[in-house]
Amino acid sequence: MSTAVAVVLLLAVVAYAIFGGADFGAGFWDLTAGGPERGQHPRDVIERSIGPVWEANHVWLIFIFVILWTSFPEAYASITLTLFVPLTIAALGIVLRGASFAFRKAVVTLRHRRTFGAAFAASSVLVPYCMGAIAGGIASGRVPAGGQAGDPVRSWINPTSILGGVLAVAAVAYLAAVYLVWDARRLDEGAMVEYFRRRAVIAAAVVGALGIIGTFVLRADAPYLFDGLASRALPLIILSVVCGVAALVLLVRKASRGARLLAVVAVASTILGWGVAQWPYILPETLTFSAAASPTGTLGTVLIVVVLAALIVVPGFVLLFVLDQKGLLPEEGVDEEPVVDRPTIQ
């Protein structure tokens, strides 16, 4: 049963990276869009694409935490004790980001928008970096078992963590750029399609380069993970590379629709590969998933909640998606602008 919960946990991480990650990545492009005049156009596209209900994406993170503390409490205690600093920065970054984004939408004057916009964009980069660094600290076996604190500094300032952090920022920026190409097309903004397409290609190249550098870093710094990636997880890594390259080709050839799916698969299979590579450990080489697992009563409840979530949440999502695609009802007045807010994710 602990295996089933571990799979759910991994899927939640994937979902957070793909849905939440794109929001963070959009913040990266917001940050790098330049001054208020030059950057206004791309920022408009970004703002529309994230949509007003971005906060729904926090639910993935909450799910990850809830699954960790109910199902693998010992590992959760070790992680939070050891990685106190990056987790705190991430938490504060999420507050700053969420609040400033909501407020930027609600205020109107340029000065206010700039202040909130800067806070939003800076924290959008900080949070994925911290998340990646946390993943790196766990994957390289720097978090000890037994609810103990590891090294408070080297657990997140180390080669694997730096790789994880930079890779996370690059990957979310890549995902976001690919999505934004699609959004710009829906908005019928030709210049912006080209703008984000170019950035998507660059980001893809950066992620690829990081992947190659990463191989050497992991071989030296996280041997267990490296061995896993080179054996158990190899099919997933190959899948990721194939999809990544295919997405790049499609982007260069301006076929953004297929690129979107391929980019998602590339990122998702990398994360799944991480999970498979460090299997059966939740904290590599010190604590396995099955040893860390809670009593069956708890694990069973968590799985029931997951099933309920699928039953309740999926129809809700479908409804939201249908509404998004649907035009406005004529009798309630029609906006001058096309409907572009994508409701939740992507």
Partner: protein, 477 residues
């Protein structure tokens, strides 16, 4: 770099327990203000929506549309501060979560589910104004109300479990070996606490929203729109108040039977005895005597169990060793907050009675300026009442984090840098709080100027007034 950081960290070696406690208290105190809005505002919005559709009431419909947008802002801030709380469980209380997570954590799995549902349906409801048929749109609001109710029940179930831990067995080393999720969720304290918080959410949400419209009326905005906004919200608060007093009475008796030490702190009872007075205000001294305040003879005994009246024995603080009961300072905090909660609760009750009497005999809300002044204050008063009640239950449980199983000091993190994060959190939240209020006020001002429902490019509020939008409002409205 790492050596510098290590050296830097060594300088800031401060006992983390009081700071962890302060940070948790602060973030929860902040979050709990947003909770009532998240739980009850959707209900009030649906009342306005229903009225708008049923009676073809244009003002009520406008109200529902605007409320749904304010709601989205407060929900967003609540979602963010709630996410921080999930970080803090681990960052501040890792040993608590490490040992009890498998039991304590279960209600949160359900809470996550309801939170997700609420988020999705708020989005659908916001989107649906212009995309769904009116009644279908109304029904998409109902899941928000239900998810809010069950979500808050789930969270309170976890807190109730800390007061009445159940549903687990321990091995000889004290580790949890089996968990019964049903008993964890439906622990002894859960029905009372969940009901108390749920009704509090409606009470506080009602008075908080009503106070905004009362303020508007006092400033001369006596139009029908403000009137409907006030009446819907204040009625919700006024109906909730007497119910809340009844539940509170039941909960107090539950505490009397199951957490006698907390009850002793509430009633300021140093030694076990019968014929215990109900002391209004006053404080406990270090030597265990009570001074100051107005004692009402025998009332605490009588309230604890009316069937035995003044002969009812109330257990005193000294019935347990000093390290198993709240300190003198904590006791005084609990007692003071209890008095504040009961006092302000009574005031709100009287205000509700005034409102009800006016409706029954005059078929309208009280016209007096004094009533409006009090109603304008009722939101803040209700928030203070709720915060005080929450302090009673949390500080009254000290020194335990899991009643009779684990102490707070054994649960806290060993990280000595918590005092830094405490200040960072306070500064950030102060910023977020101020901005939230400014943004809501800004929205309200623009709504007033726009005099209608526009949602072109600011999904959380109307766009800046432009000639084009004015024109389109005129043609639509």
């Amino acid at each position: 770099m790492t050596a510098t950081l290590s050296a830097l960290m060594a300088v800031f070696q401060v006992n983390p327990v009081p700071w962890a406690r302060a940070q948790m208290a602060f973030t929860l105190a902040f979050h709990i203000i947003l909770v009532p809005l998240g739980v009850s505002w959707a209900f009030m919005t649906l009342i306005a929506n229903y009225r708008g559709l049923r009676h073809n009431d244009r003002d009520a419909l406008t109200l529902a549309q605007r409320w749904s947008k304010y709601m989205a802002v407060t929900f967003a801030v609540g979602a963010v501060t709630g996410t921080v709380l999930t970080f803090e469980f681990g960052l501040l209380w890792p040993r608590f979560m490490g040992r009890w997570g498998e039991a304590f954590g279960i209600p949160f799995a359900f809470e996550g589910l309801f939170f997700f549902t609420e988020a999705i349906f708020i989005a659908i409801y916001l989107f649906g104004w212009r995309r769904l048929k009116p009644w279908a749109h109304f029904w998409t609001g109902v899941p928000i109300v239900l998810a809010g109710i069950f979500g808050s029940i789930s969270v309170v179930a976890a807190n109730a479990w800390m007061n009445a831990p159940a549903g687990f067995t321990l091995d000889s080393a004290g580790n949890v070996i089996t968990v019964d999720p049903i008993q964890v969720i439906f622990n002894d304290s859960m029905p009372w606490q969940a009901a108390h918080m749920l009704v509090a959410a409606y009470l506080v949400g009602g008075f908080l929203v009503a106070s905004v419209y009362a303020t508007g009326m006092l400033r001369g905005r006596r139009d029908r729109y403000h009137y409907i906004g006030f009446v819907i919200a204040f009625t919700v608060g006024a109906v909730a108040t007497p119910i809340q007093i009844g539940i509170g009475d039941g909960l107090a008796r539950w505490v009397y039977s199951n957490q006698p030490v907390k009850f002793a702190a509430i009633e300021l009872v140093p030694t076990t005895s019968n014929d215990v007075p109900e002391t209004l205000l006053g404080h406990l001294n270090d030597d265990g005597t009570v001074s100051g305040g107005i004692p009402i003879p025998g009332l605490a005994s009588w309230l604890s169990d009316p069937s035995t009246g003044r002969a009812t024995v109330v257990q005193g603080l000294d019935s347990v060793p000093p390290d198993q009961r709240p300190t003198v300072r904590q006791t005084n905090i609990v007692h003071l907050c209890w008095d504040i909660m009961v006092g302000l609760g009574t005031l709100l009750f009287l205000l509700s009675v005034w409102y009800a009497v006016s409706w029954i005999f005059r078929r309208r809300m009280p016209a007096s300026k004094l009533f409006l002044w009090l109603a304008a204050a009722s939101g803040v008063l209700a928030v203070i009442t709720m915060e005080a009640g929450w302090v009673v239950t949390e500080v009254g449980r000290q020194p335990w984090i899991v009643y009779n199983y684990m102490k707070v000091e054994d649960a806290a993190t060993a990280n000595t840098g918590v005092w830094i994060t405490f200040f960072a959190v306070v500064i950030l939240y102060a910023l977020v709080g101020t901005t939230t209020i400014l943004v809501l006020r800004g929205m309200s001002r623009r709504f007033r100027m726009a005099e209608g429902f526009t949602d072109h490019d600011t999904p959380y509020g109307p766009s800046e007034l432009t000639e084009a939008s004015v024109k389109s409002e005129e043609t639509v409205g």
